[in-house]
Amino acid sequence: MEGKICVGVDVGTHSTKVAILRGGEILATRVMRAQDPEAETPEAALRAMLAEAGLSWKEVSFTVATGVGRDTIPFAQRTRSEQLCHARGAYYHFPQARTVLDIGSEGVRAMRLNEKGEVRDFVCNSKCAAGTGAFLEVISEVLEVSIGEMGELALRAPGREMVSSYCTVFAESEVISLIHRGRSKWSILAGVIQAVAERSFELLKKIGLRPQVVLTGGGSQNPGLKKALEEMAGEEMWVPPEPQIIGALGAALWGEVLTISP
């Protein structure tokens, strides 16, 4: 089994992620933005990554695809749901993980894990985009702050504005009106993040919120959101390195399992 190569591909709405494992260790990862017209296809990306590592396509033992577009990867032998992949990816980094919250761009999901890292239960957000990463993206455009710096800014907010709208579109204009009323960008951000955190926290409560809680997905990189969630839960939450590739990593880890018993 030493040195076996497994690949995970996570095809999301906004980006595609690839992870390569060799002998259970992360060998390479890559993120391709969907909006970027120059972006490589998953297959080309994988070829390039393998070439960089001095490996050939034939050496890959197993490829697993996950994410909303998981059926669009012809070279994957199997597919696995995001829930199972995020859980496995989070558990890889933190064996203490019992609750995993994945804040993706359009989907938020909470998973409950047992000691072996198996998913025992999960809940997902509804058909409305309120409280997802995409919601934050819309607001980041309006406030002209990058998604990356958003959380940091919010942490330094002196106060918090109430953002009450459910609908992303209405929230957008609520935010615009707050700007026009001269409210500080920081406080507005803090309000937006609070609103998003509340939505995610509802899912955490539904699933039972057992420590250790691990955050994954793009949203987990937002320190303001993490802090807001920690305050609501009264509980420290952990974020793995490169949280956005956890799904792809989990898929690759599933590849290891599935090569044994496909």
Binding site: S81, E82, D121, F122
Partner: protein, 391 residues
């Protein structure tokens, strides 16, 4: 699967019209399994279940607010569009807040003129049955028997024929055979490996509500003979499915579950006949027996008479759910609750807790509308759920 079942389902309206033409008899539509089909059968009427269609509403949306079950709304919409014009009568039981109100809308949107006396319709096209909300208790049977008698009388007036006890007994015999055969089918689904897939079993149920019971009995008997020889086997994670009445959406749900690697082995579905556990008693007054049998239906809306000391609150919903999970070795439970299906929505958290705590079986809640697109949006969750159990 049997071609005739499939054909009937594919073209249920054509099938009913052909039967009508060939037999020169009447066809009545009904909206819920609470309808005493046997009384219609005894009057030589073919009862067919009224289903909706997941297309967008075209007429009924002018009358209905969007804050209600789309399935019931769709049934009305099809009627208002003339799809159900071949029906000679419609039976609407008091089976939930919306369906009972369809009695009004049906008359408004599908008007049929009949003779009236002092403003009262003599032979109404739409027949309403006040089904009691309590299944058990001292006077429930008396009351319901009375309601059924009035229903029978209205039918007799409308059809200009008497429905005798002999007629009723004959119908009961046909239906009892149906219940027995469906019982055998259920027994088969307890086996492992499964001799029949969930979607095939569903198709049999579905067809049973659309074709004459005699024909269905005959076809099913042949099918059961084949199945018991055990040539076919379906595999997958064993799933219990609890769902609101959403016929075609449910049909797709079975397929999605199967594609994800699961098999539905038992169900609690509102447009299903699986509520009937037992046969109708054949000794004594047939109308009483029919009423009694109807009161055994374990519908999410029904409640019971309790006794502070021995039986403080109703448990039948949980008891039934438990037996549908345990007896069939279900490994997971999926609940599909159509929006605004309030009785199912209220009982869900309690049933979920019981299933988790007492049986240690995982539960998945899906909420949606009566559309196939809505189902595509939850496909990912079903796949994750089946994977979660199957590993």
């Amino acid at each position: 699967m049997i071609e005739e079942f499939e054909k009937t389902i594919q073209d249920r309206h054509q099938a009913a019209m052909q039967w009508k033409e060939a037999n020169q008899k009447k066809v009545f539509g009904y909206l819920c399994c609470l309808t005493p089909e046997t009384i219609l059968h005894a009057a030589d009427v073919l009862p067919v279940r009224i289903f909706g269609s997941p297309e967008k509403l075209q007429v009924a949306d002018e009358h209905l607010v969007p804050y209600g079950c789309r399935y019931a709304a769709s049934c009305l919409d099809l009627a208002a569009r003339g799809v159900y014009d071949y029906l000679d009568g419609v039976v609407i039981p008091n089976s939930c807040d919306l369906i009972s109100k369809l009695e009004y809308w049906w008359k408004e949107l599908v008007p049929r003129k009949g003779p009236t006396l002092a403003g009262v319709e003599l032979c109404p096209y739409v027949l309403y049955i006040a089904y009691p909300e309590k299944r058990t208790g001292r006077k429930v049977l008396d009351y319901y028997k009375h309601e059924l008698r009035e229903f029978k009388q209205a039918l007799e007036r409308g059809l200009r024929r008497e429905i005798t006890d002999e007629d009723l007994s004959r119908a009961i015999a046909v239906y009892n055979e149906h219940y027995q055969l469906m019982g055998q089918l259920k027994e088969l689904r307890k086996r492992s490996p499964l001799p029949i897939s969930g979607s095939e079993a569903w198709q049999i149920e579905y067809a049973s509500q659309l074709m004459p019971k005699e024909q269905h009995n005959r076809l099913l008997k042949g099918q059961l003979d084949q199945l018991s020889q055990g040539t076919k086997a379906a595999s997958g994670v064993r799933i219990f499915l609890s769902a609101s009445a959403t016929d075609v959406v449910n049909a797709r749900l079975y397929q999605i579950i199967e594609k994800a690697g699961g098999q539905v082995v038992s169900e609690d579905i509102s447009c299903h006949t699986s509520y009937y556990g037992n046969t109708i008693q054949t000794n004594g007054d047939p109308l009483t027996a029919i009423a009694q049998h109807s009161l055994e239906i374990d519908c999410p809306r029904s409640t019971e008479t309790c006794s502070p000391a021995t039986y403080p609150y109703p448990t039948s919903r949980w008891d039934r759910t438990r037996s549908r999970l345990e007896g069939y070795n279900a490994q997971g439970a999926i609940f599909y609750i159509i929006n605004y299906c309030e009785c199912r929505a209220i009982e869900y958290p309690y049933l979920r807790d019981k299933i988790r705590e007492e049986l240690d079986i995982p539960v998945l809640l899906l909420q949606g509308d009566y559309s196939l697109e809505g189902l595509e949006q939850v496909r990912g969750r079903i796949e994750a759920f089946v994977e979660m159990i199957g590993g």
